[in-house]
Structures are given as C-alpha cells and as structure tokens.
C-alpha cells in the first residue's frame, strides 16, 4: 500500500520523466561495464588522483559528466525561465555564448591580438564584460518578445545568426588565445573539484533562493499560464518576461566564459554550437511543458546532466560524435510524443477502459 502511494505520487510528479531517463542511462552503463569487465559499478567510482598540472583532483565518470554538463545546465536554467514565462524557446543562447566568450577574450588579449600570455585588462573586467554582454543580448531578445509581441523563436533567430558573426568580427576573424592560468581557472580546478561544477552549483543556489525569496518564480509561472489575467491581477507581465530573457542571457554569458576558459581561447565558430538544442532538450526532458507555465528547475538540471550522460555513454559505446544526434532525435521525439495531448488522451482512455473493465 505504502509503495503504491509513493508510486502514485511519483507518477504525478514532474520529476518522473527525468529520473526515469537518468536511471535508464545508468542501467545501460552498468550493463556495458559488467560485460566489458570493467567492474559493474565503475560508473559510480570516484577516486583522488595526483596530476602534474592541477595537484590532487577528483576523478570519475560522474565527476566528468557533472563537469562537462555544466554549460548545458547553466543554459537550461535560463531556458526554463524563458520557456515558462513566454511559452517559447530562446534559440540564440549558443550564439550568445560564443559572442560573450569572444568579447571577454578580445578584451583580455587586446583587439587584433591573436595569442597572448599577458592579460591586457584585469581578469575581473573581462569576465564582467562578458556577463554584461550576455545581459545585453538577453535584453534585446526580451525587448522584441515582451514589448513588440514577437514570437520568441523568431525574435531570437536574429541573434542566433548575428551573435556568432559579431563575435568573429570582434576577434578579427581569428581564434583568440588567452594562455594565462588565471583565465584558465574557470575551466580547470578549484582544489580537487572542477571549477565549472562549483560555478554551476553557485548559480543554481542563487537562482533558487532568488526565485523563492522574491516570489519571482510564482510571478513567472502565472505570467506563463495566462499573461492577460496576470496583468489584470496587477503583475507587470511584460517586465517579468523581459527579466526572464535577461537572466537567460546572463547565464549564456557565464556558460560562454566557462567554455572559452576550458580551451583558453575564443573559438567563435565552435563554442556553444548546437548547445541551444541541448538546453531546450534539457527543459523538455525535465518534464517542463514547452507551452509555458509551471516549471521545475530541478527537472531541467537533471535533464541537462542526463543529456550529458547520454552523450558520454554513446561515446563509450563507440558511437562517433557525428552519429550521436540520431539517438538524441529519437529521445526528443519519444519525450514530446508522450507529452502530446492526443497521445495523453489516448493513454487515459485506454487506462480508463481497463479500470472500468476491472470494476465490471
């Protein structure tokens, strides 16, 4: 009885979908490891290792997934708010990441310099400028969506194609290398823990506290459910949608700095490529409706790490980088098909007829 209750509760919970997906990925890993003789639970082992470059660090598959999935998780945070408030997706985040990385590296190296070991401006200035650029991009998107009532996908299409190109222009069409340890910090280690994990954890904590303390989370949901009704109830819905986009841009900026710090360079053509798709997928996988309204940050974050786990697992299974999208496509379709109203209605009818038969 008790277990049944728990199951019912979980069935209703938004977290059902991401948790099941995560468990599935783990199961695949355990089976694969057991068969290849690596030890069934090598997926979960975390060890301390000594390295020449970074001192003692944590090593393990889980750590690697958390580390690699940081950018997608950061983007998913912002994307969740945008989807919830405006019932649309921001497809520019990958490009904005690239622009912020380019802007930050361009400031740190100086305009026109393609490789440097010395910073031209203090590190903090470059990083802040990168984040500000993200906010500015978000504000632009938000203006189009909230004030001019343009469909989110269409509005963000402008920066999707322009941001990467502007980034290239800032870098003088070159890859700018900032080979300085202080800049590399955001992509390496803080003590034994990879810095991106810490940055993501801090962002998640800050955002959830702000959403809880200021009731902003509630406002965003209510705007997403019915923006007209919210306005009548005294909420400035335009303001809230605009804010959601700015926050989304800010997180894209942070993700961009992390991504460029990992490779200590601004590779405008490749940073954040297709990452907007991962972020949207993470939101959908997190059990959030892409039609706006109710949202769960936890779901999106689990979704983002699940996608990273899927990617790493596919590589471990020997699927090449270029072939992996086929599996992602199948996963997306299954997830959205389950959530689709006609399918839901169909399942409900089935289960109803079953239970009525049981009664009879």
């Amino acid at each position: 009885m008790n277990t049944k209750n728990l199951f019912d509760k979980l069935k209703k919970s938004q977290l059902l979908l991401p948790v099941i997906a995560m468990l599935l990925v783990m199961a695949v890993n355990i089976i694969h490891d057991a068969f290849t003789g690596a030890g069934a639970f090598s997926f979960f082992t975390i060890t301390l290792q000594n390295t020449t470059g970074n001192g003692t660090i944590l090593y393990g598959r889980i750590i690697d997934i958390l580390n690699r999935g940081s950018e997608a998780a950061l983007l998913a945070l912002g994307m969740t708010l945008v989807v919830s408030a405006s019932a649309g997706t921001d497809i520019s985040v990958g490009s904005v990441m690239s622009l912020c990385a380019s802007f930050c590296c361009m400031l740190l190296a100086g305009y026109g310099v393609s490789s440097t070991n010395e910073l031209a401006v203090p590190l903090i200035l470059g990083v802040l400028a990168g984040m500000l650029m993200g906010c500015a991009c978000g504000a632009f998107n938000g203006f189009l969506v909230a004030r001019l009532n343009i469909q989110p996908m269409v509005a963000t299409l402008i920066l999707y194609s322009a941001a990467r190109a502007i980034g290239l222009l800032l870098c003088n069409d070159l890859i700018v290398y900032v080979r300085n340890n202080s800049f590399g910090f955001f992509g390496s280690f803080l003590g034994p823990i990879p810095t991106p994990i810490i940055i993501t954890a801090v962002c998640v904590a800050l955002l959830s506290i702000i959403l809880k303390k200021t009731a902003l989370g509630l406002y965003i949901q209510s705007v997403g459910i019915n923006s007209k009704a919210s306005r009548i109830a005294g909420l400035n819905s335009k303001m809230i949608i605009h804010l959601a986009y700015i926050v989304c841009g800010l997180f894209a900026g942070i993700a961009g700095i992390v991504a460029s710090s990992r490779i200590t360079s601004a590779d405008s053509n490749n940073i954040g490529l297709y990452l907007e798709m991962d972020a949207i997928l993470a939101v959908a996988l997190g059990g959030n409706s892409l039609g706006g309204g109710k949202f769960s940050l936890a779901g999106s974050i689990i979704g983002a790490y699940t996608i990273q786990a899927i990617t790493t697992t596919l590589y471990a299974l020997g699927v090449s980088t270029n072939q992996a999208p086929v599996f992602k496509a199948i996963i997306v379709i299954i997830i959205v098909a389950i959530q689709a109203p006609p399918v839901k209605a169909f399942i409900k009818k089935k289960s109803l007829s079953k239970s009525s038969k049981g009664v009879a």
Partner: protein, 349 residues
C-alpha cells in the same frame, strides 16, 4: 497600445538610420579602396580563398600569405575567409572570376567537389595555385601547381621516430598501444598522416586501439581523448594530427589523473603531434609533455610569391612543390632517423 506603436516606430527609424550609416561606411571604405586600386593599377591582383581560422597554424599561414603578397611587393590581394565551409569557398572563386583577378590561390577545406568551379576558372583563363591541401580532380590541368607539405612524409618521420625510440629504449612493439586523434576527415593532412600511421602499425606490429576525428580543434581533441581514456585502460601513445588536438589530449590526460611524458612503460602517455608552429607547442616539447612533433611549415607565402613572379616571366613551376620541414623532440636517445636513404636530424628546441 499607442505607446507601443510609437516605440516601434522610433526603433524602426533608429535601425533604418543605423542601416544608412552602415551603408555610408561601406561606401567610404570602398572609395578609399578604389583609389588604392588605381594607384597600383600595374599590380597583380590575386584572389586568395582561405579555409578559415580553425587553428594557430592556419592563422600563421594566413599572415604569411598576406605579408608576401602585399601591396609593397606589387600585389593586390583579395582575401576571403571560407569559415570552413566549401560552399563559401565556391562562391569566393566565382567572385574572383567575375572580378577578373590575375591568379587564384585556393586552400581547399576538403579534397572533393572542386571540378565544376575550377573548370570555370580554367575557362576564364585564370591560373589556380593550390596551397596546403590538395584536391581530387579528374583533370590535373585544372590547377597550375600545388604548394604545401608532404603530409605522408611528416607522418612517416614521426612514426620512424617512435620506432627508433622503442629500439633505443628496448621497448617491445607489442607493448605500444596507440590511439589516433584524426584531423578533419577527408582533409589532406588527415589522410596523409593517418596513412603513414596505418602503414607503420602494420610494419612494426604496434597495436592501434582506436581512431576518431578531433577536427583539428582543442575542444574536440579533449573530448575524443577523454572518451578513449574511458574506453581503453592501456593507452600509452597518442597520435594527434595537429598541435591543438595535442593540447586538448594533454588536458584530458591530466584531468583523468594521468601524466603525459616519455616513460611509457611506467604509466606515462606519450604524445606525438604535428605542426609545431607556435610558441606553446615548442614549450610543450621543452617540458616534455609532447614527445615529438613533425613540423608542418605554415610559411607558404614566399613560395607562392616566387611561383607567381615566375609565371609572370613565363616560367612554368613544378606541379608539386614541397616546403622543407623539421622534426622536433627534446628526447636525446634518438639523434637521427633515416627514410628512403635520406637522414633527418632531430631538432631539439
């Protein structure tokens, strides 16, 4: 409602105005250019279609070309960055033909699919000089000549170095477990360097555990290497097809808590790489994290300049011109390697 319409109209005007000012900028930039065109009316116009800016090597290559084919040397260079897309390069060549340039210099992103557009250049009577990577065309007359590196030789040199190193340090061939981080699949450098490795693996009996493309970038190189380390426990040699991939591989190896170095029988992982054109790569050789680099000389500019000035005088160049290249290593157990009866000294930077 009224307010929002008013607002949009303001934005519209601003964007229109900014559009106009941008157009003005273009015009002014052009008028300046027209003047310089007139000034150097006797100069030779060259259209250069570059792959993109995907690596350090490429940046240096671009700079070399721009420097050698400068206005001071009597050339007017039209540079086009293809952003690693063939479609862009095809458009660029068609634009060069339309602009009636005297020569076209092409660094093709991939080897295939150039027949049609090179035939158009030939019909217009414009000589095409290929640099760096080659092209697969039926009719070799479609290009005048090719300047670049012998990628297969570079690969053979590095493989021979590894063989000599094993001999010098009494390491059995069976104990060599190699993974190959390939370059952009289909690029000449990838094909040549992979071919050499495959031949050497067969010849010396090494184990080739795995291969995957790292697209010549640091980020992809790191990702691929991390995957390899998870899949195979006994990797001791990594064959990276350029420096940037090697930097990525080093990151992944250290993140996995292992060490990059020469002592492959005691848990270290040896990194072999190509290019060696940057300070960072040479530093990695000095501190021993990269064991050996087959140089790939990016300074094609002077060679191309020479060919063009010869063509102007009516001298037909060789079809294939190779640039001279060294091999770098900080290890002292191997001094020279010999290939086809030619011996190459190992350069210690």
């Amino acid at each position: 409602m009224k307010k929002s319409i008013f607002l949009t109209i303001i934005i519209l005007t601003i964007s229109l105005l900014s559009g106009c000012s941008r157009a003005n900028e273009i015009t002014s930039a052009n008028s300046a250019e027209v003047i310089s065109d007139n000034k150097s009316s006797g100069s030779i116009t060259i259209g250069f279609s570059q792959v993109g800016a995907e690596s350090d090597w490429r940046n240096i290559n671009t700079e070399s070309m721009k420097k050698s084919l400068s206005a001071d040397n009597g050339y007017s260079l039209i540079y086009d960055d293809g952003q690693q897309k063939q479609q862009n390069q095809i458009i660029a060549i068609r634009t060069f033909i339309q602009k009636e340039v005297d020569y076209i210099v092409l660094a093709p992103v991939i080897e295939d699919g150039w027949n049609t557009v090179l035939a158009e250049a030939k019909d217009a009577g414009i000589p095409v000089i290929l640099v760096d990577r080659k092209v697969n065309v039926e009719d070799n007359e479609l290009f005048t000549c090719w300047v670049g590196s012998d990628f297969e030789l570079e690969g053979r040199k590095v493989c021979e170095w590894l063989n000599e190193y094993c001999k010098a340090n009494a390491i059995d061939a069976e104990n060599i477990n190699i993974v190959n981080i390939k370059g952009t699949e289909g690029a000449s450098a990838e094909l040549g360097r992979s071919r050499s490795l495959h031949k050497a693996v067969n010849k010396y009996g090494w184990n080739l555990l795995d291969e995957a493309s790292g697209d010549f970038t640091q980020a992809k190189g790191r990702e691929v290497m991390a995957g390899f380390l998870r899949k195979h426990k006994d990797i001791n040699v990594v064959y990276c097809e350029n420096d940037n991939e090697a930097f990525g591989a080093i990151d992944a190896i250290e993140a996995a808590g292992k060490k990059a170095g020469n002592d492959i029988m005691h848990g270290e992982i040896m990194i072999l790489a190509f290019d060696g054109s940057t300070e960072q790569a040479i530093n990695e050789i000095r501190n021993g994290r990269i064991s050996c680099i087959g140089e790939c000389n990016p300074l094609h500019g002077p060679r191309v300049e020479k060919i063009i000035s010869n063509l102007e005088k009516g001298i037909i160049p060789d079809k294939y011109e190779y640039v001279d290249e060294d091999i770098f290593s900080a290890d002292t157990s191997v001094k020279t390697i010999t290939l086809d009866d030619i011996s190459y000294n190992i350069v210690t930077p």
